[in-house]
Symmetry: none
Subunit: 227 residues, 2 copies
DNA sequence: CGAATTTTTTAACAAAATTTTAATTCTTGC
DNA sequence: GCAAGAATTAAAATTTTGTTAAAAAATTCG
């Protein structure tokens, strides 16, 4: 249950102060002083929260925040020096969950951490944040969002529904009739080629655009999505 | 509840006097005579207030104050010899919360300590409130208040409730029906476009006014707020 | 209490985006 | 090489959304 907090801060005394404050309250901590290494560790290791200083060697906190947010939901609290108003504003711009300005009281730090963790857990419970993965494609049902190689793909409602149906049945070939029934809600076997048209749309937005084959045709039968 | 006060003073008789005065009033105390060690202890141990003499071996009080203030909010009262006016002024510039000139009456000491502690507690209460952050927008649930780029946004009750629901579910697309249920309390699927109208109101007060996109439409599905 | 103000809801229309149709071109397997 | 199935494309049809104004409801204030 002890949450693991990643402290990214290059000034040793401050890092120590943060570490002591947090460990005294029962959190586990890890430290990193270098920006680029911090970015790598956030992606590879599993932390419950990141305390991120803005000023860092090699890669600054804002850049880290932005890049991490492209792939991860890990809670981030930005830490900025007093009166660095520009930093504050930019930092928030990039998707941090909260921010603190130095100097701060330990109580404030703890209150903010608990607040961010609580809200994050509530969100997890409510949304059951699930995802489907095929190759470099990730489909997030609650967000109605699809990314390929970290880049968001803009889909219409029908395109999304069709892709979701394929992805939910990864590797299975689905007939046009099955698809019409499930995605379009037709209960008769229609004389239409909408499915073909929409498969074509999806391919142009995904397969063609990213140069990888996701959607396969099985002649005389239907379509399937595969790794 | 007994506050712990850190006495940094290299003249033993004065330190003893301070200690006695404070302990008689129910405060806990700790002592330190060396400047550099005092600095380290302030960062590592947890004190509710620091009484800091200006003249100290190895690192003077002003330097300590300045360095501590880079990270910590701990209340500091500077203690200076009589008529060292320059010191007095500089001490305040460096972030001390109050100052006293020697010699002083015990009553004055206690009054200043209580004053500083009271103000600090007020500050803490204000700082500990939770907040939801999206880009440059901050929503303070307890205050019923929303700011963008530090500027307050005037919202009606329904506008605020809708925005809060979106922000609580940052990144997730919420359908009009979900919104109607949660924000309007409708339990039937209404034939109404109030949600659209209120989204439009919010956009004119936030997105349009501040020239940043907060509220996104997912056609055929609903709305989401995103960084 | 009642007038004035503010907020909420309804309704209508224009604009924009999506979906469907349908005609044409391209592929595949025999 | 040919025929059936599949892919593509553009235009037409439909749906959805954004915005406004006015009506209705709620709230404030003297």
């Amino acid at each position: 249950m002890a949450e693991k907090i990643f402290i990214v801060e290059d000034e040793r005394p401050i890092a120590r102060l943060l570490q002591l404050t947090l460990e005294r309250e029962g959190f586990k901590t890890a430290n990193e002083t270098n920006g680029r290494r911090a970015y790598e560790r956030i992606l590879q290791e599993k932390y419950d929260l990141v305390l991120l200083d803005v000023m860092l060697p090699e890669m600054d906190g804002m850049e880290i925040c932005k890049r991490v947010r492209e792939v991860s939901d890990v809670p981030i609290i930005m830490v900025t020096a007093r009166d660095e108003v520009r930093d504050k504003v930019e930092g928030l711009d990039l998707g941090a969950d909260d921010y603190m300005t130095k100097p701060f009281a330990p109580e404030e730090l703890l209150a903010r951490i608990r607040g961010v963790l609580r809200r994050h857990n509530e969100r997890l419970r409510n949304a059951e944040e699930s995802r489907y993965v095929v190759k470099n494609m990730i489909l997030y049902p609650e967000r109605y969002e699809v990314t390929v190689k970290g880049e968001k793909v803009e889909l219409t409602h029908k395109e999304y529904a069709l892709l979701k149906y394929l992805v939910e049945n990864k590797r299975n070939v689905l007939s046009r009739d099955q698809i019409l029934q499930t995605v379009w809600g037709y209960d008769y076997i229609g004389d239409t080629n909408v499915v073909d048209v929409y498969i074509s749309y999806l391919r142009s937005k995904i397969d063609d655009k990213f140069g990888e084959k996701y959607i396969y045709t099985t002649r005389g039968v239907g379509y399937a999505i595969r790794d």
